[in-house]
């Protein structure tokens, strides 16, 4: 377990670092939101899910995606805009979809879609639960509260996972979020919990219990995890809205450092080699792949 967690977190970290590099080299085009520093959330939660559980994600979804699908090749090709990408270049970084994983780039918007998915699974009497990831910025969007209200009324099997990284773009939560985060969910009669950690093992074991309760009792849960985005919001962010001291303070709480302290150096080195070579090979394959055909734009759309 421990090795696997480390491997997945490192795979995500190296992936995000490679993406930054490719942007600098002009190989990638557009924008992207890396999750450097937040890998423990993605890995801890997705590893505690059952096969078939559903995930909705947001603009910062590479970590959620890699941790749950392990498809580095498909994601890399997608970001490069290639026909071999998971959505053939249509989705890019913010709108990933594969299997039971669905993301979109409208802040807070997927919380409603996720709630509908939880209702669908409940109507179908399936054992699946839905995990909906969003950030502290989504706390400003009304659609979240409409969704929480219905999830509570109808006892839907869904976990709302709020990744609080303290900032929505440049806006600190002290300027964007009034009152308490978890009390907002509690006001709807939803069980809520807050984790103040970047320790993937703590997140994993906490989430195992949460998922079990949500699945067995068919009810929603609201989980706040306080974490930190070490990188900029998107590729063009000089982080002038926060101090270097704050950033350094969080470096000590880096999820890879925390877990890494429990692993042998040799083990970590061999994991690093494996991850690095997977990413190199993903870049190589994606680089060689074709761009989608122009007349494919109409595919799947009625006129």
């Amino acid at each position: 377990m421990r090795k696997k967690f480390f491997e997945q977190m490192l795979l995500i970290r190296l992936f995000e670092e490679k993406i930054e590099e490719l942007f600098t080299q002009g190989i990638l085009f557009g924008t992207t939101h890396a999750c450097i520093g937040q890998e423990a959330v993605a890995v801890g939660i997705t590893q505690a899910m059952n096969e078939g559980d559903i995930i909705t994600s947001n603009h910062r979804g590479h970590g959620h995606f890699i941790a749950s699908t392990d498809d580095v090749d498909g994601l890399m090709a997608e970001l490069m805009g290639k026909a071999t990408g998971i959505c053939a270049g249509r989705s890019g970084s913010q709108h990933l979809c594969k299997g039971d994983f669905y993301a979109n780039g409208i802040t807070g918007g997927m919380t409603a879609v996720a709630t509908g998915m939880a209702l669908a699974e409940k109507l179908k009497k399936s054992e699946r639960i839905v995990i909906s990831f969003f950030g502290d910025g989504a706390l400003g969007e009304g659609v979240l509260y409409e969704s929480l209200n219905m999830a509570s009324l109808w006892k839907l099997p869904i976990v709302y996972v709020l990744e609080n990284n303290y900032y929505a773009m440049s806006t600190h939560i002290s300027c964007g979020v009034a009152g308490s985060m978890i009390d907002r969910a509690k006001a709807f009669g939803i069980e809520a919990q807050e984790l103040n950690t970047n320790d993937v093992e703590v997140i994993y074991s906490s989430f195992e219990k949460i998922a079990d309760g949500v699945r067995k009792q068919s009810r929603p849960h609201f989980l706040v995890i306080n974490t930190y985005r070490q990188c900029g919001h998107s590729k063009s962010d000089d982080c002038n809205y926060r101090t270097r001291e704050e950033e350094i303070g969080w470096k000590d709480k880096d999820p890879l450092t925390i877990l890494g302290a429990r692993l042998d150096k040799d083990v970590k080195n061999s994991i690093r080699e494996k991850c690095a070579s997977r990413i190199e090979s993903a870049v190589e394959k994606a680089s060689k792949a074709d761009f989608p055909k122009i007349d494919s734009i109409y595919e799947g759309l009625f006129q």
Binding site: V113, G116, M117
Partner: protein, 335 residues
């Protein structure tokens, strides 16, 4: 004979009975209330597991419907008044209609939003508008707005069975009208035929499809006003006309329009929404692009004035298009 409202209710009943994956949700849709316009009355009693009363949350409900649809359910969401579609806009435009395409066909989103639209009932500025025009240019969204000469229930069944998101517009003034159906080449007093599309366009003639002086294009709740205007013109001035009435109003191409204009050379477009940037503007542009040389006079558009819809009848009537406006437009193109 059944009314437009009964036709819709029967269609809902039929689909709820036949397909247990169909569910209906909305504000106040359950018995004993049965919906603000009583369309869903009785359905929650017959199908208690498939009809869900919801809180007033149009924004999240639209997303919720998309989520249901992506996971194998066929939701029909009732939005109490079409004016409230503004609250659905983000989930319709940035979510429901995007998923199928942007996820490269990995999902389908078979959802229907049904909503009563239009004025003439004294409901005032925020409960009387014709807002489907705001959604006309959204790729991936079908807007179906049947008239009472369509079989609205049949159109709704097709919408529920459709694998794409459908916005289904029910004009309020039509609810109490009896529906007239095509029989032996006739609907009511008209010679009539239907296009072969899935959502049919109806073509009506008051001269047995022989010669016509003018083509009138309209949809939904304006059809009764158009037929009155054209009847009067036939009786008063022997003006013959062909009326084209689509149900799928944002279909990419409607060849019936040019076919008719080829014969008449004159076109009047009638809609209940506001004139500026309206449905008629798009339809006129299409005709001018593809058949300018067929036109013997400029295309005329009849639509609501660019003013909110007042509560008092005298002002509501002044804002919405009336029979006299249609007659005047026809007379002008015939000059």
């Amino acid at each position: 004979m059944i009314t437009y409202a009964q036709s819709i209710s029967q269609a809902l009943d039929y689909k709820l009975k036949k397909d247990k994956n169909v569910i209906l949700l909305g504000e106040d849709v359950c018995d004993p209330y049965g919906g603000a316009f009583k369309i869903t009355k009785g359905l929650s009693t017959k199908y208690p597991d498939q009809v869900i009363n919801t809180p007033m949350s149009e924004w999240a409900l639209t997303g919720l419907a998309a989520g249901l649809a992506m996971r194998g359910i066929r939701p029909i969401l009732e939005i109490m008044f079409g004016d409230f579609l503004t609250l659905c806009a983000d989930q319709l435009i940035n979510h429901a209609t995007k998923f199928g395409w942007m996820y490269k066909g990995k999902v389908t989103v078979p959802m229907v939003i049904r909503t009563p639209m239009g004025g003439r009932r004294g409901y005032g500025p925020t409960h009387s508008q014709t807002l489907e025009k705001l959604f006309l240019g959204i790729p991936g969204l079908k807007i179906i707005a049947p008239s009472h000469f369509h079989d609205p229930g049949e159109q709704l069944i097709k919408a529920i069975e459709d694998n794409d998101p459908v916005l289904f517009i029910e004009n309020k003034v039509l609810y109490t009208r009896e529906i007239d159906e095509l029989e032996n080449g006739h609907i009511f007093d008209y010679s009539a035929r239907k296009s072969k599309d899935e959502y049919e366009t109806i073509i009506l003639s008051n001269n047995d499809f022989k010669e016509h002086q003018v083509t009138v294009l309209t949809y939904g709740g304006m059809l009764p006003w158009v037929t009155v205007a054209l009847n009067e013109l036939l009786l008063e001035d022997e003006v013959t006309s062909e009326i084209i009435v689509p149900s799928y109003i944002n279909k990419a191409s409607m060849p019936e329009i040019l076919e008719s204009v080829e014969k008449t050379g004159r076109l009047v477009i009638v809609e209940e929404g506001t004139l500026f940037n309206g449905w008629g503007a798009e339809m006129a542009a299409q005709v001018i692009n593809d058949g300018f040389e067929l036109l013997e006079s400029p295309v005329k558009r009849v639509a609501a004035k660019n003013v909110p819809i007042a509560n008092t009848k005298i002002l509501e009537d002044a804002v919405l298009p009336q029979v006299v406006d249609i007659k005047k437009a026809v007379e002008e193109v015939l000059k």
